[in-house]
Symmetry: C2
Subunit: 385 residues, 2 copies
């Protein structure tokens, strides 16, 4: 199997980006990652685009807007979609492209411009990522799906609203250290607990943002990577899992089986265990998501996720720092872009370029990205030389 490295990274500013169209958003990190790699678009063999929704883009085949605007044609490009995990599915596809031997240098770009539509419409679109026959039509929105997961977790494992809120406090704290974050604002436990209820037990500050943004990376074969980069970061494990469409079909609401399956695949492929992970970006679209991720990724035992955040084990100086870039909670969640943005953050950490939020001596990283309420999940493992 050919080894594949990330040799260039770029991440645009996340936020409400009324100043840029989808294609302009995508251009920013592409330029940045090419500059970072020290190559030009002419050196790139192939491209993969991650975008979650036609409807946010107000287009059909939105990937064509991006290759056209970059001037990448006539070289290959197509779109990969896995809802909120579209970015990681695009990274996976880029990896496959290099590993297969069909290309040596691949650009992976992912973008979403969610604020093209208003929040109500966005909530409608996102709700249809769940079971659009048996759940969504009866009023279940995205916060609703995760509220059911949170309620079940509280019931079964004694997780508290305070523990959920602690995830928000941590991630907003680290978002303050990330200039790319959508919201840079410290929040206290009281602020989170006193914010208005979106879907009980989830309150405003338990929910991620509706953001615009884009991120991009350059992947290269071993030979090209050694030529291009002094600090290649290797993707050594890839896992992908799925779960039922509807929550009503799941055996246990508190476990996302797709995460467990994807993580096991990725750990096995990389030959590592959860204990080897030095830094992780996990899918905290809602605070309960991060707690489930701790457990499903094997960072702690099932039911102990609440305790893990309460003991600050996922802070910068804890057992395993998680979402020290601010996470979806504070950095923002332009859904298609999120997975690639996670890859960018892990590369920064493994290159020791993460500034104030640097995890000292990080050698092995993990990203975990969820489509919808777990219908698909991607886990990648990253290692430096």
């Amino acid at each position: 199997m050919r080894r594949v490295a990330i040799v260039g990274i770029g991440n645009g500013k996340f936020g409400i980006r009324k100043d840029a169209s989808l294609r302009e958003l995508a251009f920013e990190p592409v330029k940045e990652c090419l500059d970072d790699a020290g190559i030009s678009l002419g050196d790139v063999d192939s491209m993969v685009t991650g975008i979650a929704s036609d409807e946010f883009s107000l287009a059909f085949q939105p990937s064509a807007q991006i290759h056209d605007y970059l001037g990448f044609n006539p070289k290959p490009n197509f779109r990969v979609e896995g809802a909120c995990a579209s970015g990681s599915m695009a990274v996976r596809t880029g990896w496959l492209t290099v590993a297969s031997g069909i290309a040596d240098v691949v650009l992976v770009v992912a973008a979403e411009k969610m604020n093209e539509v208003n929040t109500g419409v966005a909530t409608e679109i996102l709700g249809r990522a769940g079971d659009s026959t048996w759940e969504y039509p009866f009023g279940t929105s995205f916060p609703g799906y995760y509220a059911m997961i949170a309620s079940a977790h509280m019931d079964r494992h004694g997780t508290t609203e305070e523990q959920l809120a602690m995830v928000a406090v941590k991630n907003h704290h680290y978002g303050m250290m990330n200039p790319l974050a959508h919201i840079q604002k410290e929040v206290s436990l009281e602020m989170v607990l006193n914010s208005f209820v979106v879907a009980h037990p989830l309150k405003l500050y338990d929910c991620c943002l509706i953001s615009d943004g884009a991120a991009a990376i350059i992947l290269a074969s071993e030979e090209k990577a050694k030529e291009i980069s002094k600090k290649p970061v290797w993707i050594t494990g890839l896992g992908c899992g799925t779960d039922t469409l509807g929550l009503n079909e799941r055996r246990d609401l508190t476990t996302l089986e797709g995460t467990v399956f994807a993580a096991n695949q990725a750990y096995k492929m990389a030959g590592v265990t959860p204990d080897d992970i030095d830094v992780a970006c996990v899918h905290d679209c809602f605070t309960i998501g991060e707690i489930c991720a701790y457990e499903d990724l094997g960072f702690c035992k099932k039911g102990e996720g609440g305790k893990m955040i309460e003991e600050k084990q996922t802070y910068l100086d804890g057992k395993i720092p998680v979402n020290v870039d601010g996470g979806l909670k504070s950095k923002g969640h332009p859904i298609g872009a999120t997975g690639v943005s996670m890859s960018v953050e892990i590369v920064k950490q493994l290159r020791e370029e993460a500034g104030k939020r640097q995890v000292k001596g990080a050698e092995t990283g993990l990203s975990h990205n969820i489509a919808g309420s777990g219908q698909a999940v991607a886990v990648h493992i990253y290692q430096r030389d």
Copy 2:
């Protein structure tokens, strides 16, 4: 590079399928291709889903409906999209998955249920595959894009309306021999020429259908293919190309640069030339599309596509039989499914299982699938042992 074979094929009935939902449509060819390969879903490592539009599916993340309905979870699945070439991009991604070594047996399924919306809405959705800033908003629909290509071809190369019509006559003729075809009806030159004008010079019978349907294949590594199948068909060449978003940016409307680029990549990879192709499925969403394909794929010189159909060189007993399954014109064009359906037809031909439409002794086949009006193109080359 690992060799990859198609070891199972399935194709549901194309048509107006009010009897089945998207997930039910997808189930039909999946069962058929598993039966054809003689394996069960438990033997499949990974899955890729090709679907073109969220809006036709009335869902976000439509691929999750399919893996859930199949019961494929927790194993990997995500969606690949390249508008009307989504099926071929999914085949490409399935090939990458096996060739990379990450999986040995991969299910590629593609489906579209276009008749969930009425023809007017479908035309709106499809129109947005073009330039949704500078062309579509000013009234350009999909027939409009191809009408401009046809007008330019007539102007520059002397192609006639009769020659366009001859493509329809041929494809409807062969559609009669394909029980899966949406429309089984012979049409005469006069019928085509006298049908109403959709977008001059394209008339009703120059345009493909708005269809529902699904197709699926099983891909396997060399070792697994030899274990599973007595008649593996190898995908030996893959090409992917792109073009500008808007037609207004193209140097020559009569050439789709994405096709030329993708074909050259695929021929080079397979080590063949256009003369080696024994049978081809090309993208005849409009009759002019097939004429451009003859030229851009190198089956004839530029400008001689009209002559090629006039001389019946692409009939079953001609120089190179094209679209003898009826093509998009008569078999139908459930946009996401089309590319996989092309793979299914080529495999039938190379296995000599195509019945009345069999190309005698076919050893090398080609499929050519276009996204939109050429924004992305996939070309695959297939060879039997």
